[in-house]
């Protein structure tokens, strides 16, 4: 029977939750294992209260991270944070991380909440990030989160699954972000619409958890419902000492049906850049090289991990940010910031003229710090370059890898890192470490 056929990871995870075999296109009512919200918890709490339920069904289901404007930029944000802290206290939510902790999409993996086989929803589109550790994780709306607080339930459509198989040998100066931009440029902003995207192949097996998090983070930029990497020894090493609770690895069966099967080879990949004003407007960097930039951002939930900061430091060591350009460095979490302080990375970046910001989402969405002025151009490692995204609709945003961003900060214009650094050993050393 076809219904008994091999299944993809998403059909298996959603089927287990639904208590029956499921097929793509089917809509199921499920209770997630984890539900993440951030500064939008204030609005969610108000909606929750408007439903007429006094106490949330299961406070242990929820994780709340204050990160979108941390610490508060003004009185309005301060009041939002205050409201959330009071709600957390009143509802007895223990999984709460205040403004000092970091960006939710880094904090949840780091704190061991993201486990293989888990069904995770978040009131944030980049919840797709968690698939890097083998979870099924997707974004939902605020009202839906309020309803989960009240009932524990949400409807989800079982997605078709797209397989993207990646092989080849990384060239110097090219990173997982370049691969992600290349794929999104090829497929378009709706190329994976409603689909689960499973990344596999030898290059994924050799990729650090950090690189996998970058790929899954960016998956929503091509419309994907979730990203996924089959857990392996690297996953287990990352989870060791972090995992909160037991877990069971869920993988796609060998004969599972995929809606698409794409193959990429990184061997000839060159540095990529997403040009204004959409993430799928991707070009090889060389086509836009030389474009003047006033601001560079290295960090965010996409590329603010230790290996990203190491990559930036390798380029910036002994160099200086160009006059007329400002470099903002934004580690993804306090844990990463401490590690980068302990190993000297932050000092290297600061000596190069970087402005160090605490971990938060502000600059990526024009909430807090690092806003652009009309006519300015920014280059960022973040995940979105929509018009107005960094607070100004008359500004332009390019997206690239930490290596490209660091090199461009040095020259003040869009620059191929391989032209700045002719030592391939340095370029190889700064990619793929754990």
């Amino acid at each position: 029977m076809a219904a008994q056929a091999d299944k993809t990871f998403s059909e298996k995870i959603l089927g287990a939750k639904a208590g029956k075999p499921v097929v793509p296109g089917e809509i199921v009512d499920v209770t997630p294992d984890l539900a993440m919200s951030h500064d939008n918890t204030a609005a969610i709490a108000r909606t929750f209260q408007s439903i007429g339920v006094r106490k949330m069904l299961d406070p242990e289901l929820h994780v709340i991270v204050l990160d979108h404007c941390s610490p508060a930029a003004n009185e309005k944000f301060a009041a939002i944070h205050q409201e959330i802290r009071a709600f957390v206290e009143a509802q007895g939510i223990e999984n709460f991380f205040d403004v000092e902790t970091g960006i939710c999409h880094q904090v949840l993996p780091e704190e061991g909440y993201v486990l293989p086989g888990r069904l995770i929803v978040g009131s944030d589109s980049h919840t797709t990030t968690y698939g890097a550790l083998g979870a099924f994780a997707t974004g939902i709306g605020r009202s839906e989160m309020a309803v989960i607080m009240a009932t524990g339930k949400i409807w989800l459509r079982v997605p078709e699954t797209m397989k993207i198989e990646i092989g080849g040998v990384w060239p110097a100066g090219v990173a997982p972000k370049d691969l992600s931009l290349k794929i999104i440029g090829d497929l378009g902003a709706d190329g994976a619409l409603y689909k689960a995207v499973e990344y596999c192949g030898p290059t994924i097996r050799e990729m650090s958890v950090s690189g996998r998090l970058t790929l899954c983070n960016m998956t929503v930029e091509m419309g994907g419902k979730c990203g996924y990497v089959e857990p392996d020894a690297r996953t287990l090493a990352y989870l060791n000492g972090r995992a909160r609770g037991n877990f069971e690895i869920v993988t796609s069966d060998p004969e599972a049906a995929y809606s698409d099967h794409l193959r990429y080879d990184v061997t000839d990949l060159e540095p990529q850049v997403a040009c204004p004003h959409s993430v799928d407007n991707v070009a090889p960097l060389r086509q836009v090289a030389g474009r003047r930039i006033q601001q560079v951002v290295i960090g965010s939930c996409t590329n603010g991990r230790l290996d990203d900061l190491h990559a930036a430091a390798a380029v910036l060591r002994g160099r200086h940010v160009a006059s007329g350009t400002r470099l903002l460095v934004l580690p993804a979490s306090a844990e990463i910031m401490r590690a980068a302080a302990a190993d000297g990375t932050l000092l290297t970046l600061l000596e190069a003229g970087a402005i160090l910001l605490n971990p938060n989402c502000g600059p990526c969405m024009g909430n807090h710090e690092g806003a652009l002025a009309p006519g300015e151009t920014a280059l960022s490692t973040a995940n979105r370059n929509f018009r107005g995204r960094m607070g100004c609709k008359e500004a332009e945003i390019f997206l690239a890898s930490p290596l490209t961003c660091a090199a461009s900060a040095v020259t003040g214009c869009l620059t191929d890192v391989r032209e700045l650094l002719d030592d391939p050993a340095v370029l190889q050393a700064v990619r793929g470490e754990e």
């Binding site: 339920v53 978040g122 589109s125 024009g366 107005g388 609709k393």
Partner: protein, 168 residues
């Protein structure tokens, strides 16, 4: 539900949530009238000033891509938008619109036929769009979520299912 009759505002592909409702407002602008005044601010500054109740947005592929922000749908509801017709919708916008009770029509033919300023009628019950250039059928919502839409959105639906009717 009754038919929606209004004027067409036409836009292109990949209209994202940041141009529908800018990120910088997502935590601080909560009043419905103020949200309506910000709708499509970075896409079409005329829109919020000129939109009339039951006007219809017509767009290309992947309408509402980007953020999970619910205000992408609710600011349109507050602005009086009666329906959105598009070639396709991002999954988060699709969810948020159903949850806000905003009718969505997926019909490439209707998008093709409609021009900015046209008069259009969306008959949700019949699954038809009436345009100056013909009548086009569109598929109904999935059965599993029709109840949410028919209840007027996720919150009334949830209240009803919890026996908490009479909230608002």
């Amino acid at each position: 539900m009754e038919s929606i009759h209004g004027k067409v505002w036409k836009y292109g592909d990949d209209i994202n949530t940041d141009v529908i409702f800018p990120g910088k407002y997502t935590y601080t602008v909560t009043d419905p009238a103020e949200m309506a005044a910000r709708a499509l601010e970075d896409l079409d500054p005329q829109f919020a000033r000129m939109v009339q109740k039951n006007d219809v947005i017509v767009a290309g592929r992947n309408f509402g891509c980007g953020s999970s922000r619910e205000q992408g749908a609710t600011c349109l509801v507050h602005a009086g938008v009666g329906a959105v017709i598009a070639r396709s919708f991002s999954r988060l916008f699709f969810r948020n619109a159903i949850n806000a009770g905003l009718p969505l029509v997926q019909s490439a033919a209707a998008v093709e036929a409609l021009q900015a300023g046209d008069e259009v009628t969306v008959d949700v019950a019949a699954g038809q769009v009436h345009t100056p250039r013909g009548v086009f059928d569109f598929p109904p919502l999935p059965e599993a979520v029709i109840g949410i839409f028919e209840a007027g959105g996720l919150l009334p639906y949830t209240r009803r299912s919890l026996g908490l009717d009479g909230g608002d």
